[in-house]
Symmetry: C2
Subunit: 374 residues, 2 copies
């Protein structure tokens, strides 16, 4: 099965009719995971690759859902036939995480007892919860060991957590534009984003669906701010500079500078399409991620039982999860004598680089994946 | 007159009963400037120093208004008897800028024709407008030439603009933690801040006073976000790290991390005390500041007629106006053979360092001011 950017792919919803206890203590009575697969699982189930998504991603990684789809999946440049994560070789699974808003059980899904959307009642989920739910997903497909778990940003955190929680189940982890934990500044930005949403009068304590409204204002502000942190300072300067929309200053609060138009557009688009409760819990999963915490803040200790080999990639202009953060992980892996390759890519794309096509990056993933035996 | 941190100082409101045309084309029929002075103007008027404030500053630079005042003026560590800007030597003027909300004519002041607050009807002001209003202020005091114009951040921009617009009126300019224009990222953050305020349902197009309300939610979000950009990434890490408020994660959206408590406190305090319309126009004055623009984006050309000598100071961990931005100004001054001293201070305090007491910084200002003849 050849997978190209125009291949029509069909997501599937996989039901898990079992109680699922979360790290918070809450228990989901059952849950669904929305999934897309590409390629074919081989007989020995040795060619399975899990793609973990970041804050606003989902299961739709590659191909198109309809012939008229404007865009392919979010990592279509990385996943497909002949692409760095080659679906002619690998069986690739993309999923929407638990708590997401793209079909998996989350705040927008119906509570099995009430029949109405969970909304604010959906419990918080952690990276560890996601990994355990992904383990059940692996079992559903008869996969006992991933050839690789791959992710950028929050997705890379899931890849890392997999190697810690299920060491024997991951041969390779690709941790891209990620960090072993958030910095104080990362947490601070997340809290401002959440406060923008929570204080929006349309938020209604998270139960906005029951009020037939959406906290779009807050979600828009959160995304605009977030978007700035995804872009390199120099990159955004090169792209927009101080370019004006009109010939001169307007002396008003409409759009003066092109960068304002761009940011507001990004904010509007996101606020129209994404769920605020999901955004909140995703940022919280980021804040809470800290695998070293259970080991007296010793990352080496947290990694001591890891069996996977690592490819870690950082981007020079990423100031959200700067290369220094990747290097923390690399150093800890080296100190525990794990196998790790590290690539630091010169890029103007900031944190967003993990979704872009800077060639040393794409080449590094391709070479690494080529060398994985199946 | 000795000025210490406990000296009781009394602001004065100075009325300018004359039409004042703004860069936008709008005309103020009259205006007031709220002012505080420290020290004594000498007979030759050669010892006058103007302190220009930043985004949220005002005229209250040093001393206290009441014996029970909790805090002294915002630059009390810099201005006073025996302090780096020594009021035993200099006659120092602090003012609240036009458009401010601390007593000068601005959105919260009464429109002379209607008697009600200007609100959204207050026109936008620019750094050039401020400098022209400060020129009238100088004339009011009989000052034809400042010994020095001093400011940090947006205040530094005013000092720079003074040297360009009135070259013969400034002997020394101290431009601290500033930039010759905003970067794209700076503008982007400002626009998110403004959008947070403007989309707050309590904003009412800026006429919130008429609706007996205030857009506190939006102003709070704007300030929380702004505050992150004032702090060094490493500094905030050192101060708060991932310190929790309670022993473990709360799995809720209340405060988990100490940095959240701090930021929300800063946001609340600011939203209670500052005016939203003023915040908007201050950020716009920042965005619009670009003295090179009138000279085909050639900063050297903009500086060609400058007569003042400069002390420029940048702080290593300031990522809002990074040292590189100060160096742009320094290089342009050097290229036009102006007198400039540049000090780059190693500091953990980020942009806020200009308000702090890192000793090489304080010492540099002291030494520079000591050497100014009066």
């Amino acid at each position: 099965m050849t997978v190209t950017s125009t291949t029509i792919v069909t997501p599937q919803k996989i039901a898990f009719e079992q109680a699922f206890a979360l790290q918070s203590g809450a228990v989901l009575p059952r849950f669904d995971l929305m999934v897309e697969t590409y390629g074919t699982l081989n007989e020995t189930q040795s060619n399975a690759v899990l793609i973990c998504h970041a804050l606003s991603g989902n299961h739709h990684v590659a191909g198109r859902h309809h012939p008229n789809d404007k865009h392919p999946g979010w990592w279509d440049n990385m996943v497909g036939s002949g692409k760095p994560i080659d679906t002619d070789k690998f069986f690739v699974i993309g999923l929407n995480n638990l708590g997401g808003c793209a079909g998996s059980t989350g705040p927008t899904a119906a509570h099995p007892e009430t029949g109405t959307a969970y909304g604010a009642d959906f419990p918080m989920v952690t990276v560890q919860d996601w990994v355990r739910s992904q383990k059940l997903l692996a079992e559903h497909f008869g996969i006992t060991q991933w050839a690789a778990v791959v992710g950028g940003s929050l997705g890379g955190m899931q890849a890392l957590q997999w190697t810690i929680d299920f060491p024997e189940c991951v041969r390779h982890a690709l941790v891209i534009a990620s960090a072993p934990k958030l910095s104080t500044q990362n947490i601070a930005f997340n809290d401002v984003a959440r406060q923008a949403i929570i204080t929006d009068p349309d938020f209604h304590g998270g139960s906005y669906a029951q009020h037939q409204t959406k906290p779009k204002r807050g979600l828009r502000i959160a995304r605009m701010m977030g978007h700035i942190t995804y872009l390199a300072e120099h990159g955004i300067d090169e792209k927009f500079g101080r370019k004006l929309r009109h010939e001169s200053y307007g002396y008003h609060y409409d759009i003066d500078f092109e960068v304002e138009r761009y940011l507001r557009y990004q904010g509007d688009k996101f606020a129209d399409s994404f769920d605020a409760d999901t955004y909140l819990l995703m940022t919280k999963a980021l804040d809470y991620f800290d695998p070293a915490a259970a080991y007296e803040n010793n990352l080496q200790a947290a990694l001591s039982h890891v069996q996977a080999k690592f490819l870690v990639i950082g981007f020079s202009s990423d100031w959200r999860f700067a290369p220094e953060r990747s290097r923390e992980l690399v150093k800890a892996l080296m100190a525990t004598r794990k196998s790790v390759q590290y690539v630091e890519v010169a890029s103007q794309h900031g944190h967003d680089a993990f979704l872009m096509e800077d060639s040393p990056y794409i080449d590094a993933v391709r070479a690494y994946m080529n060398n994985i035996g199946v």
